[in-house]
Symmetry: C2
Subunit: 533 residues, 2 copies
């Protein structure tokens, strides 16, 4: 997740101490690795365009100790892979005695494009504070610099702002102590015959690993917090890989402990300095609390968790069902919108209806597991809502679902109706065949989050070839462009697209993009399907 702008200062939240205590009990002990920088590199071109922004190695890292740097000298270190953790560096002076402080700047970058972008040029609305840059003074050398903040990066650019004319500075032993709730070693890596898919899988694992911290973060560089939409996908990816259920439980309890007084779960929560719900509300995200709980119970039947959190899941569904009219139409309101995707250039009502069906089906399975006597009421609601979809929203001419009063045809509507299986399997396949035929190639979608749902809908419709083609064309393209981890935003037609107007604010390791590991596991490995396309 990234940006969704709401301010709701007047909302009061519950803080269920018992559930918060359970969340705290599942807090992971972070694992650490010490990694040294691998080489000194330079930017190949300096256009600021992602496509042009490679690096070339210019020296081994051992060469660093021989570089005597002075005002305006610069060096870029390459750690060889994406890292999340704390950076340290030995700093010493050479020449005459140090007659002035050292003043220098460190810039941490996940991708070379960030180094090519000037921080001072950024003037977007998203906070500049996310730029991973520090200005530092050291009064006395030698010094062992241990930066207290956590950074997410592969590259570190050191710019000497000044020494004095009498001495130079030498940097040695650039090191990061990484952190994650998991280690990649814990994953039994599947053998994929297709090397491209194999790489797509590996980068997904790395992305997930680096986002698994004290909570499932959306991005370790920017935002760094727990969003429901990201959590749902991360949990699915985690079941396919690390199988760290404690972190999923922790996050479920965090959301479950802090709904509003009227019962709604906020779209995200903060855990620093203390557990704090955000004042952002998204109807689909609230419903996904049900989905995450149901997915968890499917992976690992756990009656305690279900007992604790079912009432909260039920509340989300009840709040959503109040928005459904007599005909079975979900009437979305401005103060409780659906997210679906960052883009607001398409009508989201039918996709929202699809998500309601999708989550209501999951909710019914939970209600049955809880022997909830209300279950029949939910089943009849499902019928009403599903019939509205198939009878009022399905357009027999195009064989696609329409959305909104203008009967708009968009990808998201088809995808969520396919995922909800509101149609029978044959019709779902036809729906996606028509989607590919009429609405592909995809235009105007820039999030791996939405691409995930499109890909999964193709798999669900039995269209493996198209799903794999899309996965390679999207996640594979990021790898071609130098991704060590998958990105928050990516439009294959516009590789330099940033929702923030500058690569420097982009998060290039973002949880909601890690899902190829889940998709490959579920639809290719577990189903034993041939995927050598």
């Amino acid at each position: 997740m990234g940006f969704t702008f709401q301010i709701n200062n007047d909302i009061h939240f519950k803080h269920d101490k018992q559930l918060l205590a359970k969340a705290a009990s599942y807090r992971p002990k972070l694992k650490h690795q010490t990694i040294n920088a691998k080489s000194i590199v330079e930017l190949e071109k300096n256009t600021g365009l992602l496509e042009d922004c490679g690096v070339k190695k210019v020296a081994d890292i051992n060469e660093l100790a021989n570089r005597k740097l002075k005002r305006n000298d610069k060096v870029i270190l390459d750690f060889g892979d994406h890292c999340v953790g704390n950076f340290s560096l030995k700093v010493k002076s050479v020449g005459s005695p140090m007659d002035a402080p050292l003043f220098f700047k460190l810039k941490f970058a996940e991708m070379p494009a960030e180094l090519a972008s000037k921080s001072e040029d950024y003037d977007g609305w998203l906070s500049k504070s996310w730029i991973q840059e520090e200005y530092l003074h050291l009064d006395t050398l030698p010094a062992q610099l241990e930066l207290p903040r956590r950074y997410s990066f592969r590259y570190v650019e050191i710019t000497v702002l000044d020494t004095s004319p009498k001495w130079q500075v030498v940097f040695e032993q650039p090191t990061v102590v990484t952190q994650s709730a998991v280690t990649a070693d814990a994953v039994t890596k599947p053998r994929l015959a297709d090397p491209e898919l194999n790489r797509i899988y590996q980068v997904g694992v790395k992305t997930l690993e680096d986002c698994m911290q004290n909570v499932f973060e959306d991005g370790p560089k920017r935002d760094r917090r727990l969003w429901i939409g990201d959590l749902r996908l991360q949990a699915l990816a985690d079941y396919a890989t690390f199988k760290n259920t404690d972190l999923v439980k922790r996050c479920l309890y965090l959301f479950g402990a802090m709904p509003t007084e009227d019962g709604r779960i906020p779209a995200n929560v903060f855990t620093q300095p203390t557990e704090t719900p955000d004042d952002t509300f998204l109807l689909d995200y609230s419903l996904f609390f049900i989905s995450i709980l149901a997915d968890y119970e499917e992976f690992n039947t756990d009656q305690m968790v279900l007992n604790d959190l079912y009432p909260i899941a039920k509340k989300q569904m009840d709040v959503a069902l109040k928005l459904v009219n007599e005909q079975g139409k979900l009437q979305i309101t401005d103060d409780y919108p659906v997210f679906i995707d960052w883009s607001n250039d398409f009508d989201k009502t039918t996709a929202g209806q699809g998500i309601l069906i999708y989550t209501l089906k999951q909710f019914i399975s939970l209600a049955k597991q809880m022997h909830d006597s209300d279950v029949d009421r939910y089943i009849s609601k499902l019928t009403l809502i599903s019939e509205f979809a198939t009878k009022q929203l399905f357009d027999s001419k195009s064989q696609l679902f329409v959305s909104g009063s203008n009967r708009e045809l968009n990808v998201a509507s088809q995808v969520w109706m396919a995922l909800s299986h509101v149609l029978d399997d044959q019709s779902t396949k036809q729906l996606m065949v028509q989607t590919v035929k009429q609405l592909f190639p995809i235009k105007g979608i820039a999030t791996p989050y939405m691409y995930h749902h499109v890909t999964q809908a193709l798999f669900e419709a039995g269209m493996q070839k198209e799903a794999i083609r899309l996965m390679k064309g999207y996640w594979g393209k990021m790898i071609q462009l130098g991704a060590d981890t998958y990105w928050e935003a990516f439009d294959p037609d516009k590789p330099d697209y940033s929702p923030y107007g500058s690569a420097i604010l982009n998060s290039y390791c973002h949880a909601w993009s890690c899902t190829p590991v889940y998709l490959i596991d579920k639809y290719l490995l577990r189903e034993g399907v041939s995927y050598d396309n």
Copy 2:
């Protein structure tokens, strides 16, 4: 002291462990005071010109806690007087939960002119690292920010670089814990009938206090180290005020412990991270080691210190005397120049000759105190050198000393010849009368260091009126321009002069300018002279 640029990487130094141990034993226990900011101010004009750069109070400091600041908001705090110490601040967020780090900048300024100067415009040779500015990220609020570095300032400008659109930042309790080897309370303040002289005296005491740290620093904002030239004047000012002889002894031992292998004392030493002599050498400064020792012995006869350091003092004189030719002329070399003043626009040879006479007289008094059997040799050298001055350098036509092959007439030559008392008292008076007549008003001198010597020479010549007039016109003018402490550099004709091209690098609390306390004490209070001029 400030800038003097030499690099001598090939010089080897002694490190006399016994003398270093004595230096360490006199290391002061710093005294601390907790001071709160007094008010919120704004710059009156923003021209960057010192004369225009006052501040006006816009709010009481209690108002700070009500200010909710966001991107690009700025506030200037006024502590009411010059402070040297560690700054702290409470920081909290208001509004929605803090969904991005706080990014802000602190700029510490001794004078408002520094705030009006933009750091990024500075491109002089002196290190930018001296600009008292910090860029800070805080990931979690509330926070109690305790900055680890020491600053020298009266004003603190806080600029919020970014919060996020969802929350604002509030700053509270800006505080400094000051540090000094002394406290102003320790000084019995004289009552001076003339309020202007009284103020001149008080500002001098404050200047000295803020420069007395683990050593006598030249300036607590910039350079922050022990220079002999500054030490000599600070020690004299200290005897008139704080009478902290331990700090003088500490500094004498530091210099005495680390001469070069051929015996020369460097112009300054560093004490961080360990005691380190600088590779800068100035003949007059080396000679002033003698002077500081002699002044100390005059204030406080101390045979141990004299026994320890007399051989080193003697070495300085012997090295200097090797540069004296058969006629008695001091032949200054390029690798061991005399400082006299920052300006290099005048010939310094005669001033250097004067300093040699001045220090040789002090050396002879030490040699006598030590019963040094060589004393007669020094006395005959004194005669030779003095006769060269009076016979070869004194110009009977102008009744002034000439300097260099062009027989230049400059203020510095007359001043050092007057201070050395190479002439009889009546002739010294005539010399200074002619100096005032022919060479005043002073042009092209911008250091309080040189102004001190001019003023003292006037006093030594019995010209109190002229001395007081000069003191008021120089130190008094700084006060008129807003000085809380005296400055490193000041040219009354060009108040905005900076040797570094920007006020932002100037040191506005500089040791060598504190001497009015010494001059007033020695020539007005102790001599009981009427000074109501």
